[in-house]
Symmetry: C2
Subunit: 210 residues, 2 copies
């Protein structure tokens, strides 16, 4: 959306923040978070090394903005993928799997989305995850044993969330082999495990009482 052609002929950029976020995602995709630097992002955007700091307080703020963009894309994927799944049970179970599949494609992106330091320091990131989870709440309510309260539904979602993230982490660190190759396999395993959780939390006197 920059008003000028690439390489930029005007003094002002047009939409530097967005361009920086794009550059950041590019870099991370190519060389990982460790290889990312604000300076490099500036370079790719044809802008001086100091310019980014007009828009982002510090390095982490830029990373957080990029992570937010990733979470937006993930939600879009989710909406497309799961909308057509019929039963609430399957809908919940499917999420875990499609999450794993997305992780394989957005490799670098997920690394920042789940970077511990970032999430702790930038609540808006957690907020976005929470909104995402909220989309699933109605399904969770359908699924839990009748008579259970809201905590049961939330507990189920937390468990599913934990499960999915754990599989994603293991996938991305290459525990099962090349992420690209094993993604589908791991996704089905994640779905399977999710199904077990969903079924378990649906039983009458299930896990509600320890």
């Amino acid at each position: 959306m920059a008003p000028t052609r690439r390489g930029r002929a005007t003094y002002h950029h047009g939409d530097l923040p967005a361009a920086l976020v794009r550059a950041t995602l590019e870099i991370i995709d190519e060389v990982g978070v460790r290889g990312f630097s604000v300076a490099e992002a500036a370079r790719r955007t044809c802008v001086s090394p100091g310019a980014p700091y007009r828009h982002f307080a510090d390095r982490d703020a830029l990373l957080a903005a990029a992570a937010l963009e990733v979470s937006r894309r993930l939600r879009a994927i989710y909406l497309e993928t799961v909308a057509e799944v019929g039963s609430a049970q399957e809908r919940l179970a499917t999420v875990a799997g499609s999450f794993v599949r997305a992780a394989a494609r957005y490799r670098g992106g997920l690394d920042i989305l789940f970077a511990p330091g970032l999430r702790a320091a930038h609540p808006e990131l957690q907020e976005s995850s929470r909104e995402f989870v909220a989309l699933l709440l109605p399904s969770a309510f359908e699924v839990i044993a009748p008579g259970e309260g809201a905590e049961a539904a939330v507990a189920l979602l937390d468990a599913l969330n934990a499960l999915a993230r754990g599989y994603v982490a293991q996938l991305l660190e290459g525990k099962f082999g090349d992420p690209e190759e094993v993604a589908e396999d791991v996704a089905t395993r994640a779905t399977r495990a999710a199904r077990v959780l969903v079924a378990g939390y649906g039983l009458p006197s299930g896990p509600a009482d320890g």
Copy 2:
């Protein structure tokens, strides 16, 4: 075990690698991974900034060594904690919870133990996790439905692993509040979810077929 007193009066240190790992864990505990630097570790060990590079190829190698130390401590905790649990089912379920509890105490340590980049680049870290998981394999075999093969046992352990790590991640990023405070609560929830998984994978025609 340095042959000289703290502060060091001799030219040679005695056991610089170990001292650097200790310093690294200290630093990470105080200021997090982001605040860690090889230079700082060297400073705390009263050694020149270049000295660490005699023993560790680069920054990440030192971090990986520290992470390895963390994993060793975790295993020790596990052996103490779970040895006395009677049934295989409860043993497996308990692991998840005690893992969460350990995370609250070794906060910084877990951050590096699960740092995606590190694990991907340093297979010995994954290896150590794998050994840890192997300790649980016998319990997993006891638990799975009779007639299932080894894959079922491994699949269960993978699922438990994913679940535990996911809870740990959420705990450490403060999703549930101050990690110290909510640790116990989250631990019981993790245990509960783990119990559901264990039960589910123990059912005859359970999750083995999709």
